[in-house]
Symmetry: C2
Subunit: 419 residues, 2 copies
C-alpha cells in the first residue's frame, strides 16, 4: 500500500503506514504482533492515535481538511499539520523539557509522529477541574514561555532571521483567521456558532454585543493579533494544550502557531487559569470546598507571570550583547537605561497579556467553543453563576487592563470580585 497522496488513516491503514515508515516502526522495535492502537482525538480538530508496543510507543496525529468537532461543513486547511510540526521542532529546540519530541513528519499526509506522553500525563484542564495541584506548573510554563517567546523575538533574532520566519508563518493564515473569528469577532455579534448557558446568560451575551467600549478594546487587540509579528507564539495556549503530571509539564498542539503578539500566549494560559478559578464554586462539594485550591490557582497565576518576567528579563540580560537587534548594546549601554527599557517592555507585555487573556475568557463563555471547567458543572443555574462572575471580571480586565501595574494587583482584583 502506497501513501503517495493524502488520505485519512484508520486503525488498519495506520499499521500499513507505520510498517512503511522506518522512523516509526523502529520506535516500536519493528514488532507489530502485540501493538495496541487507540484513537483518542478528543480535541476539536484532529485524529490522534496512541500506538503502544512492547518495545516502545508514539502518537500519530493526522489533520483532516475540516474541523473535526463541526464536520466537513467547516473546512480547515490540513497544512496546519506542517506549521504544528515546524513549531513543535522549533519550540522543542528552545524548551526541550516542555515540548514532546517529533519523530516523523509527513507533509503530504498532514501527519505527525511524536512522543507518547504516557500516563499519568493528563490534560491540565481536567486536573484543574479535579482540584489537583501541580507544584511545578508555574515554574515550567514560565520557563517554556520565556524561552520560546524570547528566542524567537527581535530581542534575540536579527531582523533578517525574524522576517524570514514571519514570512513562512504567514502561510498559516487560515488558522489565524479561525482565531480572528472565534476570539475577536463572533462573541461580539450575532453568530450561528455562539452559544451560552441560556436563559441565564441571555442578557449577558447581549450586553457583550452592545458594549461599545468593549468592542473598541477588542478591535485594538484584534489589530495587534493580525499585525504585530513579535515572536513565534503557540497560538492556542489554553489549559487543554498542556499535559501534566506532578513533575512534568508538556505543551502540545501548536497548530495555530505564527508570528504574533507574545501576550496572546501568556494571556491564553493565565486567562484559562482564571476561568478554572471561577469554575471551582461549581466543583465544590461537602468533602472539599475548594477554598484552598482556589488559593493555589491564584498563586499559580501570580507565580506564572512573576517567574516569566524574571526568566524573560534574565534571558534578555544574558543575551544583551547577542545577535538580537531590537536593543543594540551600543545604545542601551547603561544599567539604568537597560532597566528602564525592560520595565517599559514588560509593562506593555503585561497589558497585552491581560487584554488577550480577558478576550479568551469572554469567548469561552459566549462564543462557539466552551471549556470543560464550566461545561462539567451539570446544574445550569450554578454553571451560569460561575460564568457570570468570570465574564464580569473578564470585561473589567479587558477595559481597564492598562491600570494594572503588576500581576499582584490583578490577583487582588480577582479576590475583590468575591468579597
Amino acid at each position: 500500500m502506497a501513501f503517495s497522496e493524502f488520505r485519512p488513516l484508520n486503525e488498519k491503514s495506520l499499521i500499513e503506514y507505520i510498517k512503511a515508515t522506518p522512523a516509526l516502526s523502529n520506535k516500536i522495535g519493528g514488532k507489530f504482533d502485540d501493538l495496541k492502537i487507540e484513537e483518542v482525538g478528543d480535541g476539536n480538530l484532529n485524529f490522534v492515535y496512541i500506538v503502544v508496543g512492547s518495545d516502545g510507543s508514539f502518537v500519530i496525529k493526522q489533520a483532516l481538511p475540516y474541523i473535526r468537532c463541526i464536520g466537513e461543513s467547516w473546512p480547515m486547511t490540513k497544512e496546519r499539520a506542517y506549521f504544528e510540526a515546524l513549531t513543535l521542532k522549533e519550540h522543542g529546540r528552545l524548551s526541550p523539557e516542555h515540548v514532546p519530541e517529533v519523530y516523523h513528519f509527513d507533509r503530504k499526509m498532514s501527519l505527525i509522529g511524536m512522543r507518547y506522553l504516557e500516563p499519568p500525563h493528563h490534560i491540565l484542564r481536567k486536573g484543574l477541574i479535579g482540584g489537583n495541584e501541580y507544584p511545578h506548573l508555574a515554574e515550567h510554563m514560565s520557563d517554556y514561555m520565556a524561552k520560546t517567546l524570547f528566542y524567537t523575538s527581535l530581542l534575540y533574532l536579527t531582523t533578517t532571521e525574524h522576517k524570514r520566519a514571519v514570512a513562512e508563518y504567514c502561510g498559516n493564515v487560515e488558522m489565524c483567521r479561525l482565531t480572528e473569528q472565534v476570539v475577536f469577532s463572533d462573541p461580539y455579534k450575532v453568530s450561528q456558532y455562539n452559544r451560552w448557558t441560556a436563559p441565564y446568560l441571555d442578557l449577558d451575551a447581549e450586553a457583550v454585543r452592545e458594549d461599545n467600549i468593549l468592542k473598541l478594546e477588542v478591535a485594538g487587540l484584534k489589530s495587534k493579533f493580525c499585525e504585530k509579528a513579535q515572536a513565534l507564539i503557540h497560538g492556542d495556549l489554553h489549559t487543554g494544550s498542556v499535559m501534566v503530571t506532578p513533575d512534568s509539564t508538556q505543551v502540545i498542539d501548536p497548530e495555530f502557531a505564527f508570528y504574533g503578539p507574545m501576550g496572546f500566549d501568556i494571556g491564553a494560559f493565565i486567562g484559562n487559569l482564571i476561568l478554572a478559578y471561577y469554575a471551582q464554586a461549581g466543583h465544590a462539594d461537602s468533602a472539599n470546598d475548594r477554598k484552598s485550591y482556589k488559593e493555589w490557582i491564584l498563586k499559580t497565576i501570580e507565580d506564572t507571570w512573576k517567574f516569566f518576567d524574571k526568566k524573560f528579563v534574565g534571558l534578555w540580560d544574558e543575551h544583551k550583547d547577542g545577535p538580537g537587534e531590537a536593543y543594540l548594546p551600543q545604545i542601551y549601554n547603561n544599567p539604568e537605561l537597560q532597566h528602564l527599557v525592560q520595565r517599559s517592555y514588560m509593562k506593555d507585555l503585561l497589558h497585552d497579556t491581560l487584554g488577550f487573556g480577558a478576550a479568551k475568557m469572554i469567548r469561552r463563555i459566549v462564543g462557539v467553543a466552551h471549556v470543560e471547567d464550566f461545561e462539567s458543572i451539570k446544574v445550569a443555574s450554578k454553571r451560569a453563576e460561575c460564568e457570570q462572575q468570570a465574564l464580569r471580571f473578564a470585561k473589567q480586565l479587558l477595559k481597564e487592563r492598562r491600570r494594572f501595574e503588576s500581576v499582584g494587583e490583578v490577583v487582588a482584583a480577582i479576590r475583590q470580585t468575591e468579597s
Copy 2:
C-alpha cells in the same frame, strides 16, 4: 548584445537595451537618431537615465548592488528594484494621479522603465528651499497617502490577502535593515557614518546619545517599524521622494516599501516639512524674509494631516461594508461606535506619525544622510542654529507626542519654539 544576466548599463549599452525591449523602444516610436540620454541619478542609491526622443520619453532606473553615494563598500541588494516596481504598480493602481506609470520592469537587470516626469517637475525639497508654494500639495499628498495606506490595510483587505502581501514584502528586509540602522540606531550611538555641523552641534549630538528617555521612545518606534505590518508603506516618503509642479504631485522611489506602520510614511512627509520650516531662517535674505512662506509650510503641515484624516476616514466609511476584516460591520454597527473606533484609530495614527516624523528629523541632523534644506545654508553657524532649533523640537515631539490631540496643537508647538 544579450542581457541574460545582470550588468550595469552605461549610456551606450542602454541604447542596445532599449532596442531589444519593445515596451521601451515603442515609447519613442522606434526612433534612435535624435535620442537624448542624460544620467541624472542625484539620489543616494541608483543610476537614473532620462531618455527623450522626438516621439516620446521615459526614465530608466537601475539599481546596483551597493549604495551609490557611499560606494561598493556598502553593499545593498539590487532586488530593491523588484520591490520598487511592485510598489509603483500597486500604489499607482490605487493613486494613479500621483504615481508615475511603469512601462517596463526587468528583474534580472534590476531595471525599471517608467514615465519621465518632464519639466517643470522638480524635486519638492528643492522647491521648499527656493521658497515656492504649491497650492495643491497638501490635497495631493493626503490623497496619495489616504488611498495607498487605506487600501493596503486590514480596513480594506481580508487577512488572507494581507498576510500574502506581508509575506512577499518580507523579502525587502535588506532595505528595512538600512532604515533600522540609519533612522533608529546610528543617531543614538557612536557610528562612523554619523555627522553633524561641528563643532556647533557636538554637544547636541552627544546629548542625543545620552538621553535615556529619547532612547526608550525610539526603541518603541523601532519595534513598531519591525513588527507592525499595518499597510504597504512607501518607506522613504521625504520631500526628496516627491516631484512637483504647481499642479502636479508625483511620488517616486518606493524602493524601501514594505508592510509597516502607516505613521512612518505620514511622519516622514510631515517631519521633512518641519525640517524645511526650520531651514527657512537660513534661506531668508533682504529680498524675502520667508515669514509668509513659513506660514504656508505650517498651513501645509496642518492641511496634510487634516485632509488625510478626512479622506482616510471617508474611505473607511465608504467601505465599511466591504471586504476589510478589521472592523466587521456586524460588530461596529452603530454610528456612535463607528465614530468612537475611528477617532481612537486616528489618534493612535497621529501619535505614530509624530513619533516617526520626529525620529526622521533627528536622523537628518545627527545621522549619516542630511537634507539639502540645511546643507544648502552655507554659513555653518547659521546652519547650526537652524538645526539646533529643529533638533530641539524633534526631541520634544518624540518624547511628548502622546499629549497632542490634534495637528493644530503640533503647529502651535512649532510656533512656540520661536516665540
